[in-house]
Symmetry: C2
């Protein structure tokens, strides 16, 4: 035991397990929380469990939601014949922030990543195919512009084109090697605008 | 609401309020937690509240503890006539890690910081004075080597010396493993000043 309190130590261990947080930061956060009023800490603890209990994946687009189908899938304002395919829920947020896209989404829950052992079967591709109808549809592939995203884009394009759907991909105006969630809105807008036949 | 889930948004807000965590990192952590098993998240939430409920400040040294007096204050192995004064509980840990100190501690709970409105009355100085007895005692001042720590060191030295206690402060000099050319002038000045027989 490094600290004089086992429960403090336990919080530090839990926090260290989170992405981007090392032991030093975890310690700093834990000591900060110790100084906060009890209600504050209880509220945070409750929010964590609440999030876990209330959220689920939308059965249509696979995004995180509290109602099923999610607000976007249910919205009458959305163009129902355009589906933007992204890797993670945070990518939906990144595209939404442009205010330039008014279609629907499909969240794959990752991208094809052989080194991490993620294959097509681990992604929500079946669910995407189920959404392809007979009408005039467009699928915009908006995956991260890195090797794995590229691989996934090519895989999906090959899979979708024979179904008679228009398949596009966001323009490679987005800087290569970056992650969608960190790209500024203007760049994402431009990429949506300049999408080309896949 | 930026996300399609209010409870997710709530967790992001809570996390963003923590030190060192901005909104992007909060979002990343929240989405990470969403992917974790429920028990994992519940365990973390419980650890937070547990820490808050179980810990208190040691009535002697003011360090965080689950038993009062704390393990260090109770330990028969500790030299009882040496008290190391530090600013925060994390500083106790930093000194403990050296394995070179076997005395007791006193945690001030901060340092004098006029700009932040922290004066001597906001620190556990009364509690420190109460620990000064008649015997052969040494108080080691181990506060951060910055303006506020310096101010607090001088204040405490002035307060303690008339009580007939030996007052020392940790040496200021070049840190081990550093290169002279990268050490700032003030530190080198202090190291020259405090030179000892080789």
């Amino acid at each position: 035991m490094l600290h004089t309190s086992q429960s403090l130590e336990s919080v530090i261990e839990h926090l260290s397990s989170l992405p981007t947080i090392g032991r030093k930061t975890a310690q700093r956060i834990a000591l900060y929380l110790l100084k906060q009023p009890r209600e504050e800490v209880v509220a945070m603890a409750r929010a964590l469990v609440d999030m876990k209990d209330k959220t689920a994946y939308c059965t249509i687009c696979q995004n995180i939601t509290e109602q099923d189908p999610c607000a976007i899938c249910q919205s009458p304002k959305r163009e129902r014949n355009v589906i933007c395919v992204v890797g993670e829920p945070s990518d939906v947020l990144a595209v939404e922030k442009t205010n330039d896209y008014h279609g629907l989404y499909h969240v794959l829950g990752g991208v094809i990543h052989p080194l991490d052992g993620v294959g097509p079967d681990d992604l929500k591709i079946k669910e995407l195919l189920a959404r392809i109808g007979n009408g005039d549809q467009e699928v915009i592939l908006a995956l991260n512009p890195n090797v794995e995203g590229e691989m996934t884009t090519l895989y999906l394009a090959k899979l979708l084109k024979p179904l008679g759907v228009k398949v596009t991909r966001i323009a490679r105006g987005v800087p290569l090697g970056s992650a969608l969630e960190f790209v500024d809105e203007a760049t994402i807008s431009r990429a949506l605008e300049g999408r080309v036949e896949a």
